[in-house]
Subunit: 332 residues, 2 copies
């Protein structure tokens, strides 16, 4: 039973049901008693009901991810939910894929569910950075509710973004490898997103500063696909790899096993995201931790502040940057 069914049974609008529940005096006594009778008859749970009553606050936050089966994104959603629950907010999740049209559709779907805010998880939502129109749908959404973008920077009113310092992180990781004596350091990624571009920039800067040669490969994000792709090539001569994800890094380690090469002696490997996968392999994987938990917690806290400020006009910081951390393990 929900507010719409109560409205239908009582023969009134949902706005009227809402007024009755909120004790508004704009409802006639006759209508009030009819609505209360229906609520009584159907045995409502007032707590659940109350959430849906104020048409302007369902205490529900819409979260969009491109791929919920990705270990980084599913962890982020779990962290967000933990933080949201502390403030009494529930979440509705949309899985949008990476295509522009689906991102826009899922945004419209969540908005139609009366969410109080939208959180986009993943740099894909910030587009490639080449064409501002790619992010117009986010600015349109921000006309309705506050919008938060995790790991991607988007400009506009009522839009708050959190980015981790991917460029500095990869720059530093490359410097660590160079210091260890690696001279053929390759960069492997499956993405052309905002954050992938920043990672690449950091990589190129470190490599070129050291007078070395940058080599980049675009690969799949699945362990065995990466291994098999590398095994098909005879001309690989890297002594270190920085990967855009932990799965890609582990694909490189699988390639090393097949080739009889040792990690880290013959090939040093650094992954990204510091996910559970980094602990599953042997040696365990050095990985760049982008502090997803902290970013998620900060995002929810800023969201609550925006709600408290009561509008887009506030002095809450629009862009937040969080440093990444290189978690060194046996693979480098």
């Amino acid at each position: 039973m929900n507010i719409y069914q109560v409205a239908e049974l009582a023969g009134v609008s949902i706005a009227t049901v809402s007024r009755v529940m909120n004790g508004s005096d704009k409802v006639s006594e006759k209508t009030r008693s009819r609505v209360l009778q229906v609520i009584d008859e159907v045995g409502f749970t007032p707590n659940v009901f109350a959430q849906g009553l104020g048409l302007n606050t369902m205490h529900t936050i819409g979260i969009l991810v491109p791929n919920i089966s990705d270990i980084y994104m599913s962890s982020a959603v779990a962290y967000l939910q933990d933080s949201l629950a502390k403030y009494g907010y529930d979440l509705l999740l949309g899985n949008s894929g990476f295509e522009q049209e689906k991102k826009e559709q899922q945004t419209a779907l969540l908005l139609s569910k009366h969410v109080d805010a939208l959180i986009y998880v993943g740099s894909t939502y910030a587009g490639s950075g080449k064409d501002e129109r790619e992010t117009d749908y986010i600015r349109r959404a921000a006309e309705q509710v506050p919008v938060f973008v995790i790991n991607g920077g988007v400009d506009g009113d009522n839009i708050y973004s959190s980015v981790c310092e991917d460029e500095a992180a990869v720059y530093n990781a490359a410097k660590v490898l160079i210091k260890k004596g690696c001279s053929k350091i390759w960069f492997l990624t499956d993405s052309r997103s905002y954050s992938a571009i920043k990672k690449r920039t950091g990589y190129e800067r470190a490599i070129e500063e050291a007078g070395l040669n940058p080599v980049q490969l675009h690969v799949d994000n699945r362990i065995h696909k990466v291994r098999d792709y590398l095994l098909q090539h005879d001309d690989l001569n890297f002594d270190a790899v920085i990967a855009g994800s932990d799965a890609i890094a582990i694909g490189v380690m699988k390639y090393a096993v097949q080739k009889g090469l040792c990690v880290p002696e013959d090939i040093a490997v650094i992954g990204y995201n510091n996910s559970e996968l980094a602990l599953a392999c042997e040696p365990e994987l050095t990985s760049i931790d982008n502090h997803t938990e902290q970013i998620c917690r900060d995002t929810v806290e800023r969201m609550i502040k925006v709600f408290e400020a009561g509008g887009a006009e506030n002095n809450i910081k629009r862009k937040l940057t969080v440093p990444c951390e290189l978690v060194e393990r046996g693979s480098s």
Copy 2:
């Protein structure tokens, strides 16, 4: 912009807006033109709008998982979405945790969002099997919409469940280990759910049939936690482990590394779910594949049939069992 805002701007109920969009003749010409004018002024996207119009079908399915950061559950959600998208359905996801109260709250929340059906992912929703009242909330939900339970059996009208044959799967896995000469086969799990009980039953049956001694440990589901727990004990003398998840199995492999033991020579290890983790470790992990992708696809197909049948009275199978498969790799 959504149907509620259109209704508010036009000064009519959402039911009236719906009637206008559906071309109903129960609306006066004056009201109709007012609503259409508002829709025109606010620049509606009819496609998105149309989804929310029929009050009885939002083309949205509610999905509940206990823990979205679990690799098994996030994969299931991704598979479900792939199948749902083929039929034009979107999904809303609730992350309920494992507590009874939160399961009930999240169910109410999703129902309040006008979902067309509910899908519960994970055997935790089927309770421990000891007290039927644990699943009353599912039967209550099924009074409103068709309910589908993945990997858990729940009895009741309008409830459809899919279970994989966990008992047979673990029974067969134990037999394979016995045939290979293992005689001290332990069972490690983090769960006391419906499916964990079935796994344990299969384990005990095989071990006792072979005249061996069943030993079970209740552990955490995180790789390093499992390793550290085992390292604290001096009295472990297993030569094989069947684990309730891949993460637990990899925890056992990490313990073996620390102890200088070889997998599979000293300890054979079999995991559960055949997740990405099973490919990350070395040797790669033998794991029981519970065919999540197939179960998810079958669930969506049955759901569409239930919708087509138009009610709880139909001859669509209520319980579906899917056999599991032992995917043998280097760890056993």
